[in-house]
Amino acid sequence: MTESGYQFAADDWRADIYAALKRQRIVQVAYVPDAGHATLIKALHADPHMKVSVLTSEEEGVALLAGADLGGERGVLLMQSSGVGNCVNMFALLRSCGFPFVTLVTMRGEWAEFNPWQVPMGQSTPQTLERAGFLVYRIEHAVEAGAVTEAAVRIAYDSAQPVAVLLSQRLIGAKTF
């Protein structure tokens, strides 16, 4: 049982991500839904100490979390890899002003992807983030989820960097129909 009252399944590594966010004093969360983030989103909504904003498009979250930083709060943007493309121009805000920033990106278009429309953006996601000045980390195995998330938040806020954590499609499980 988490502080939020949400009960993750015993083997759900999102519980480790949630715990890492709590330890690192994340209080604002912005997201465009993704199946890979679904249980984390439920837990965050159930937590009365989290301010959770559902967005219409991912770039709103970049600006929203910059505003949170102006007000002294830490935040994280949850999205899937297709959303990274929507954010590109807004990412300039982060580098222009030196905002710390963390996004957790669930990957599509890689491991066993069934939908070809997901492949172009998924395959260009790491390079897109790097070209925008992000430090990019990747979680391939469930056991790393908590540690990588925590390290990402720490370097983002302690060293004022934009940081992305890519959650691999192999980890999440490829979607099937």
Partner: protein
């Protein structure tokens, strides 16, 4: 039609100490600077479509401070979805003032959507803003000021303004410096 500089100056006259302003890129940033530089101003020089979202993040972080987003019709049109996001959050301390000259003034004066009857006040109302108003005359500015600075948000005021050229007043452009100064003003 209202002269934009006069409108912004009157809105910010005798500025309450807890009022923090984020301006959208272009003319709104110049208008905010022309009304008097202040550590409680955050001037955007880019991030088109992001001013309102930024205001929301700040409003959620600082619920006891008043947050005013001052922007143009083109900037808000690019972030139209953020009106819906603000409506969901229903932030009581968040206000939006749109300087609506019905043109993309920075890029050659092309007609914007509002020149064709798209009504940003109506959009905000549909997005569950608590109060909205549109003003066209100086006599209405006192009511607008009351809406933007005192009424329970989210609120939005559209200021119909002439598309006339006004001299640019250019504030600090270094985003790192703007961020540092603004955070110090917010956080002490």
């Amino acid at each position: 039609m209202l002269p934009r500089r006069e409108a912004v100056t009157r809105l910010l006259a005798h500025r309450p100490s807890d009022l923090f302003v984020i301006s959208g890129l272009g003319s709104a940033t110049y208008d905010l600077a022309a009304a008097g530089d202040d550590a409680r101003n955050f001037y955007l020089w880019g991030a088109m479509g992001g001013a309102l979202s930024m205001g929301l993040g700040l409003a959620l972080a600082q619920p006891f401070k008043r947050i005013l987003v001052l922007t143009g019709d083109g900037e808000l049109l690019m972030g139209l979805g953020s009106l819906a996001t603000v409506g969901v959050q229903a932030a009581r301390n968040l206000a939006v003032a749109v300087l609506d000259n019905e043109t993309y003034g920075e890029t050659g004066g092309q007609a914007s959507h509002t020149a064709h009857g798209i009504d940003l006040a109506d959009v905000a109302r549909a997005c569950r803003f608590r109060e909205v108003m549109t003003v066209r005359t100086p006599e209405e500015l006192a009511t607008l000021r009351d809406l933007l600075l005192r009424m329970s948000g989210p609120v939005l005021g559209v200021i119909k303004t002439a598309a006339a050229d006004v001299p640019r007043v250019l504030p600090e452009r270094d985003g790192h410096a703007i961020r540092r100064r603004f955070r110090q003003a917010v956080l002490g």
